[in-house]
């Protein structure tokens, strides 16, 4: 063995390298089969960033199809419910510059809304139930329908089909528990308000 290596080092090296190539190839091949990922992980990542309103304003029948389309090269600025925040997140994920929201697909809503059916006007046609992408409307033919507010994504898709126009999009109320502190004003604004002298302080910490 040693003799062979010393006699013909080139052949020995080729055999060794070839053997390693085969070995690692086999390991990689095994790993590729064993740890195969189901579906496209990129689509799942994009889908996780989309707001899941399933409103179809992007032109696709839901967020997952749009995620699929983005992964195949469609523009990332077609989602009005997500707004600029979603575009930025998508741009960050895909490592592309973040464009402005495409106004063709709608404008970003400032208030979150939820569908509300004026129940005494509902005629029970089930058209809104068929339109709802997340099955958030309860009801049956010729019986009153109602929206499960917690499940409603505020996609507006039920408003159009209603023949008696009894669906309103109401802003989601903010309960006290959901209130959050506003951020302090940006420091830049304060610097611009005029020159400041730090020693102008009237009261401060006495000791530490």
């Amino acid at each position: 063995m040693l003799e062979f290596i010393s006699q013909s080092p080139v052949v020995a090296a080729l055999i060794a390298l070839g053997g390693m190539a085969l070995l690692f190839g086999a390991v990689l091949g095994f790993a590729a089969v064993k740890f195969k990922l189901e579906g496209d992980p990129l689509v799942a990542q994009i889908d996780a960033l989309l707001p899941q309103t399933q409103c179809g304003q992007c032109g696709y029948p839901g967020c997952k199809p749009y995620a699929q389309a983005i992964s195949e090269g469609d523009a990332i600025n077609k989602c009005p419910p997500g707004g600029q925040a979603t575009i930025n997140a998508l741009a960050h994920l895909l490592d592309v510059p973040a464009p402005e929201l495409d106004a063709e697909h709608g404008v970003e809503k400032t208030v979150k809304t939820v569908a509300y059916i004026r129940e005494d006007e509902c005629i029970g046609c089930t058209k809104c139930i068929q339109a709802c992408p997340v099955d958030a409307i309860l009801g049956a033919a010729k019986l009153m329908h109602t929206v499960i507010a917690d499940e409603c994504t505020g996609c507006d898709l039920c408003v159009e089909p209603c023949p008696v126009d009894c669906i309103d999009m109401l802003p989601v109320p903010t309960p006290l528990a959901d209130w959050r502190w506003p951020a302090p004003p940006a420091p830049q604004q304060l610097w611009q308000s005029g020159p400041l002298i730090a020693t102008d302080r009237r009261a401060g910490p006495t000791s530490l």
């Binding site: 889908d47 989309l50 707001p51 899941q52 309103t53 399933q54 839901g62 967020c63 997952k64 709802c132 992408p133 997340v134 099955d135 958030a136 499940e151 994504t153 903010t174 006290l176 528990a177 959901d178 209130w179 959050r180 502190w181 506003p182 951020a183 302090p184 940006a186 420091p187 304060l190 610097w191 308000s193 400041l196 730090a198 102008d200 302080r201 009237r202 009261a203 401060g204 910490p205 006495t206 000791s207 530490l208």
Partner: protein, 620 residues
């Protein structure tokens, strides 16, 4: 660990080595003296009591009364909603005058659901059911009493006390938080000075509920010697340990106090019970004693009203629901010298948006400082990276880093730097030489992260429901296809069997199927008279539609509508006319066909009728 006995001087009873060091902290001027000049005072009844339904952490209570009801003092007027909730009791006897949204003491300035009570001045108590011998009562029974009394933690957070006490984890140390480290606040101090007996009684009840834990410790700062003496005298014959430690803000924080007294650190995102410790505020213990021994629910609390804008700072035993304005007026509050009224102390309190808000279970202090006393924060300047904030942080965080990440909105890094371990004590903002409102940044970021987390959960749910919706649609489609295929097979079989049994499957293909369908349609074919009647009905409907569209269009032109609206009206009119025309043509054709058929009753008329029938089905 040894029990203190009454005949030893306090300095020996409180060995300093039993206190562990805690990181950080500041020493702001205490300003507690002002409000301790007078004893606790019971204020006269206000005209109206506004009792909010949510004064605690958890679900708001559900009202049990309606407008016009007469209620007795201590009667339950709102029941707890779920396990993490406490009830609300009538603070005095009187009439319910309204239920609705009123300003509540909350930094948002939002209104919350409240019950408004007009006192009758009779102070007529509802039936009180004190526990005669709590020693023989089971912990579960006592917990039920505490729960029914609506007791929520009075230290500031307002966590339902029965939930905290009902922990299933083993507890070996019961700590009573009597530190009251925040400047100006003296509510607990006054309570301990005047009602030490009840506090010790409450402590015994808690110890009984927890199955006599190995040690019961009262932690108190050393700037309250009178309160300490009073507690020592009251607990002389017990094993309760009273530990005084040097005053430092914020040693009254639950986690800080536990570390100070036991040396144990509460794990992050954990609760003290996980390390065998339970911590209650001294005022909560007093409320427990009142509830168990006297049957009185939580309808009042000690509130400090102080600040230089108050002529006479002092402590009040205020009924829950007393308007803050009422208490301030009693203390000689001068609105002219005052900039804002804070609920809570100067470090952690918040400016009240409305003085009409009531006192609630967590109102430990109302601070009305003058502009000289607590000047408004000067505008923030750039961080000079002095590092003072990191030195004073009691949670050992890096306030500077948190500030950068908060300004950049980098939530992942904020969480990596343990933002949620921040207790919002305000020590970093207090020492900041650039006056950066650090805590406000952290609070805002915490809120954003919580909101995002909530939205993430909601969007996950929507994603799941959308997937299920798609699956359901696919399943329905599949079922329809299957049904169609089955029918097709059936028909093909029916067509084949009489003609020839040797026909193979590929042979009964499109032509056979078409023939079968034609035959089926012919069977279904209505008589010509019925068809004519149906078409006539349709003609009338189409005429009606056309008329109404025309009317609308005329009205539109008269009212000068926009071109877009006019266009849509015109389109509707044209469509209606088309429909009318179509109906007319069809009727004419059918009538002709009818005449033709009456001459020759052949098979050839049938296909045309089929075609019309199909046409009829397709048209809307």
């Amino acid at each position: 660990m040894s029990a203190p006995s009454a005949n030893k001087p306090p300095s020996v009873l409180i060995p300093t080595q039993q206190v562990w060091p805690v990181p950080g902290g500041v020493h702001p001027p205490a300003n507690k003296r002002q409000s301790l000049q007078e004893p606790i005072c019971t204020p006269p009844l206000p005209e109206l009591l506004i009792v909010p339904l949510q004064q605690h952490i958890g679900n708001p209570a559900t009202p049990l009364v309606k407008t016009g009801d007469l209620v007795a003092k201590g009667q339950l007027i709102a029941a707890p909603d779920g396990a993490l909730s406490v009830g609300v009791h009538a603070p005095t006897s009187g009439t319910i005058t309204a239920l609705g949204d009123y300003p509540v003491p909350h930094p948002s300035g939002l209104s919350g659901p409240c019950i408004v009570l007009a006192p009758d001045g009779a102070e007529r108590w509802a039936e009180r059911r004190p526990v005669a011998d709590y020693g023989s009562a089971t912990p579960a029974e006592l917990l039920a009493v505490i729960r029914a009394a609506g007791i929520a933690g009075l230290g500031g957070a307002g966590f339902p006390s029965a939930v905290k006490l009902g922990t299933s984890l083993p507890v070996d140390t019961l700590i009573i938080n009597a530190a009251e480290c925040e400047p100006y606040i003296t509510a607990d101090d006054a309570l301990m000075r005047e009602r030490a007996g009840d506090i010790v009684a409450g402590l015994r009840i808690l110890a009984h509920i927890l199955g006599q834990p190995a040690q019961v410790v009262i932690g108190i700062e050393d700037d309250k010697p009178e309160a300490r003496e009073a507690l020592l005298a009251a607990s002389a014959d017990t094993t309760i340990r009273l530990v005084a430690f040097p005053a430092k803000y914020p040693s009254g924080g639950e986690k800080q106090l536990i570390q100070r007294l036991t040396g144990r650190e509460v794990p992050r995102n954990g609760i003290p019970a996980e390390i065998g410790v339970l911590c209650h505020n001294v005022a909560t213990v007093y409320s427990v004693a009142r509830a168990v021994l006297h049957g009185e629910p939580q309808i009042s609390r000690i509130t400090t009203v102080t600040g230089d804008a108050c002529g006479q700072p002092r402590n009040y035993e205020a009924l829950i629901g007393t308007p803050i304005r009422h208490l301030l007026a009693l203390s000689g509050y001068a609105a002219t010298t005052n900039a804002r009224v804070l609920m809570g102390g100067p470090m952690m309190g918040f400016a009240l948006p409305s003085l009409d808000a009531p006192v609630i279970k967590t109102t430990n202090c109302l601070l009305a400082p003058t502009a000289v006393e607590l000047p408004p924060l000067p505008p923030a300047q750039a961080c000079i990276r002095c590092g003072l904030c990191a030195q004073v942080c009691p949670a050992c965080l890096l306030p500077q880093q948190l500030l950068w990440y908060s300004q950049a909105g980098n939530h992942a890094r904020l969480q990596a730097h343990n933002l949620f371990d921040c207790i919002e004590c305000g020590a970093c903002s207090y020492v900041c030489p650039s006056h950066i409102p650090l805590v406000q940044y952290y609070r805002a970021s915490k809120g954003e992260i919580r909101t995002q987390e909530k939205e993430r959960i909601a969007s996950d749910l929507a994603r799941q429901r959308f997937a299920q919706h798609q699956q359901r649609l696919a399943r329905l489609q599949e079922q329809r296809e299957a049904k169609r295929a089955a029918r097709r097979g059936e028909l093909a079989g029916a067509a084949d069997s009489p003609s020839t049994s040797t026909a193979t499957a590929p042979a009964r293909s499109a032509e056979d199927l078409i023939q079968a369908a034609a035959r089926r349609a012919a069977q279904k074919q209505a008589s010509p008279e019925q068809q004519i009647a149906a078409l006539e009905r349709r003609l009338v409907a189409a005429q009606h539609l056309r008329d109404s569209a025309q009317e609308k269009w005329l009205a539109g032109t008269a009212n000068h509508l926009t071109t877009a609206q006019l266009d849509s009206l015109r389109a509707a009119l044209e469509e209606a006319e088309l429909r009318l025309q179509g109906a007319r043509n069809k009727l004419d054709a059918l009538r002709c066909g009818d005449k033709a058929r009456s001459h020759s009753q052949g098979e050839e008329a049938r296909p045309s009728a089929d075609a019309r029938d199909n046409d009829e089905q397709e048209s809307p």
